[in-house]
Symmetry: C2
Subunit: 462 residues, 2 copies
């Protein structure tokens, strides 16, 4: 089989000018050296993992997770591995599904901005489940996540935006490849078996955008994780697929996208790693109001503001802000996510706008209601989509001002490690308590040297 799986010699079934990317990616996944990347890549992989764990624990008690767990109980899923944030145990494929669902339920996970793929969900959900069961060490888990995210995002780069514009939810429809790659690596599949794993996964793209607004949006992430994991297990046992499943005339990419820029897959493969360009949402709402919240939090922290101090907040915003999030009087949490007024009030009161700041109770709290009525916004077409001009007039007459050029969480102003830890606590403390949250953060930091992932998963269970 060697000649088949040697990318230099592989016959490409894709025709003139189409590189044999299935075999290329498989070779890369099977052979790239452990930790064969620079410190920036390594750091971002760890941040991706921590952010993913936090999101998965944060939503672990949501109805979507409970419903999916009930379906797995109908199947009497074996208690092999952990479900983050919960006490139940399920089989590896079930954990990939459940952790994937919960990590995306709050829409608060990571984003590879060039493709809007959320790579952490499908890749880490599959990889952690397999690592926990197989006894892989922390280094192997991180390697699998870096390589898996690279496969998903490179395929995404090749087909975005046409593929997304057609209607595919790109995280689910590339994520099964990333998950398969990560699991192939963890199972130490050889290049040929890894190509089979990618090939089997290539027949299982998940998700259309019409599902946005229903639980099935988050299902896409979990189902992609599960598909990738089971594809790798099948390949391990000799199940076969086409060696050209991605690039052939009737292969996946040309079947589901009119744009197929093969160079995005092959250029600098093994040199540039897409996980280095991952970003994390600081606030649990649409990115359009992130600059406004960011400005309010900055002024609050710099001047130790409390809600009583505020006379009036004035925002100059990009036109989309009022179009998408102009809800003046939200009454429930979900409406709060579409109210720049509530979001800014929350930023001033709490210095944060995580999932708990958008609960029904917080949106209805009298001090928040009173403060949001003192928030005013006007459209200024000169303001960029990633920017906001925030002025606060205080009861004592002070006038405070900040212009946010790039919101926190963007590639220009990434979340700091402290920001990420604060976000993690905001998600995990309500579920497992602050002490346990801190212990999980420590386990994540120690992951590269950990002999296995069991103490991490034990801390992250409910």
């Amino acid at each position: 089989m060697m000649s088949d799986t040697n990318p230099m010699r592989a016959r490409s079934a894709g025709g003139e000018g189409v590189p044999p990317v299935t075999v290329m990616l498989a070779d890369f996944v099977a052979k790239h050296p452990s930790c064969g990347w620079d410190q920036l890549v390594e750091r971002e992989a760890q941040r991706t993992f921590l952010n993913w764990v936090g999101c998965a624990i944060g939503a672990s008690r949501h109805g979507a997770v409970a419903a999916a767990l009930a379906a797995l109980e109908d199947l009497e899923s074996a208690p092999q591995v952990s479900v983050l944030g919960r006490h139940e145990r399920v089989d590896m494929s079930g954990a990939a599904l459940l952790n994937g669902i919960s990590s995306h339920t709050f829409d608060f996970d990571d984003t590879h901005l060039k493709t809007i793929i959320h790579p952490g969900g499908p890749v880490a959900s599959a990889a952690l489940a397999l690592a926990e069961h197989s006894g892989a060490n922390g280094r192997q888990l991180i390697d699998a996540i870096v390589l898996g995210a690279d496969v998903a995002c490179r395929v995404g780069n090749a087909i975005y935006p046409d593929h997304y514009d057609r209607g595919w939810h790109i995280t689910g429809s590339t994520g099964m490849l990333g998950a398969a790659a990560a699991c192939a690596r963890l199972l130490r599949l050889d290049p040929h078996q890894s190509a089979m794993a990618l090939g089997i996964a290539a027949s299982q793209p998940i998700g259309v955008r019409e599902q946005f607004g229903s639980m099935t949006k988050a299902f896409h992430i979990g189902a992609a994780a599960r598909a990738g994991l089971t594809s790798a297990l099948l390949a391990k046992h000799g199940y076969t697929a086409s060696l050209y499943a991605l690039e052939a005339r009737r292969g996946l990419l040309r079947t589901y996208s009119d744009k197929c820029d093969w160079k995005e897959i092959e250029n600098a493969l093994g040199e540039r790693f897409e996980i280095a360009f991952n970003s994390y949402k600081p606030f649990a709402c649409g990115v359009v109001i992130h600059p406004c919240i960011d400005g309010c939090v900055q002024l609050r922290n710099q001047h130790s503001l409390r809600s009583d101090d505020i006379d009036r907040v004035e925002l100059k915003v990009h036109p989309l802000v009022l179009e998408l999030t102009g809800k003046r009087s939200p009454t429930i949490g979900l409406e709060g996510k579409f109210s720049v007024y509530h979001a800014c009030a929350a930023g001033i009161v709490f210095g944060a706008a995580g999932e708990s700041e958008f609960s029904d109770a917080i949106v209805a709290r009298p001090d928040l209601v009173a403060l949001r009525e003192r928030v005013h916004a006007v459209v200024d077409p000169s303001i960029g989509e990633d920017s906001a001009d925030v002025s606060i007039r205080c009861q004592d007459g002070r006038s405070l001002h900040v212009f946010v050029e790039h919101a926190v969480g963007s590639l220009q102003r990434p979340m700091s490690d402290e920001d990420l830890c604060r976000k993690f606590h905001g998600l995990v403390d309500p579920i497992l308590g602050a002490a346990r949250a801190e212990s999980i953060i420590e386990h994540c930091e120690a992951l590269p040297g950990a002999a296995d992932v069991h103490s991490l998963t034990a801390a992250a269970r409910g």
Copy 2:
């Protein structure tokens, strides 16, 4: 929720002229009366089921099934239900996967000719697994198969051929909807829950045509069955999806096909049943040589011919026959499937050309080798693709002739019940023995009145 699920009142998210087909199909699946169709439909459903059971048992010892079973063993799948033809038991979703894989492995299953969907595979694989576990009776199982096949084939009618031409393996990419419909029916989901089941399934289309020639082709059928079954279980537990998942602008059909003929889904829904148009392959090879084999078998049976009687066989054939199946001297079974000479020799010697007549041993048997050398074929452009002109000159000087206008297995000349039973024995006898095969046939005939499916599955286990 009633107004949402009443098709007459449902807001269609699809826009002008696009009917709310997700809710329509869900309503149909949930409410259509048991056995609410004529005797022709009922008979074809039973024939579809029998043919599917035979195909699944026939390939149950194949390496593809063994590899997939090994992957399920890694997941410690619970021993809930039967795997046809084998002694192992796995959970419902695993059985849907395995029985779906085996039923398609020989490429010998049923065909809805208008769409080239193989509806039995995804629908029956999911439905039998669920029926066995839930204790459903035979009537409920048949109802589920009729309704499930109707959903898959109606969606197929709406998008074929554009969808298939793009690269999708249409059995897997519509089959998950048929399987979800069948399982929704068996679980007695209400119309709203049934719409959720179809909606969740709509995010899981399976399979691209590049996989043809690998085990992943058959995986498409099993994975579609599994996706449909798990979608129905999720819906039962309250998991939500878009009510417009099929027809919306970013719903499944418009995402994966440029042709969306909605009338094919709504016209005569509940009056015309697509399973009535199902067909069954009489011979385990490409349809192009079926007319030749058919003619040889006819003459053999009418004149009690043995290979020694034959001096020369002369075929006039459609040009594609020699282009696709002109292999003069096949040496292994798979090559035999591409040799009109071997196939006709097998038809004369055995009166059949099932999977066992294309084994390595049969292809190498001296009497077959000698006979196939006396078979001659010439192209005659006036012969239709579904026809053949077959002449046999005997050693005793007799000249025999038959013109086959439509091959057996076509809609014009469907397989008789006797043909189907003979095919069933050809598939099942080598695995379970003739007596058990006969017992399974009896259980299938008695299915409409069976209190449960347990005696059937007990007989069909290895």
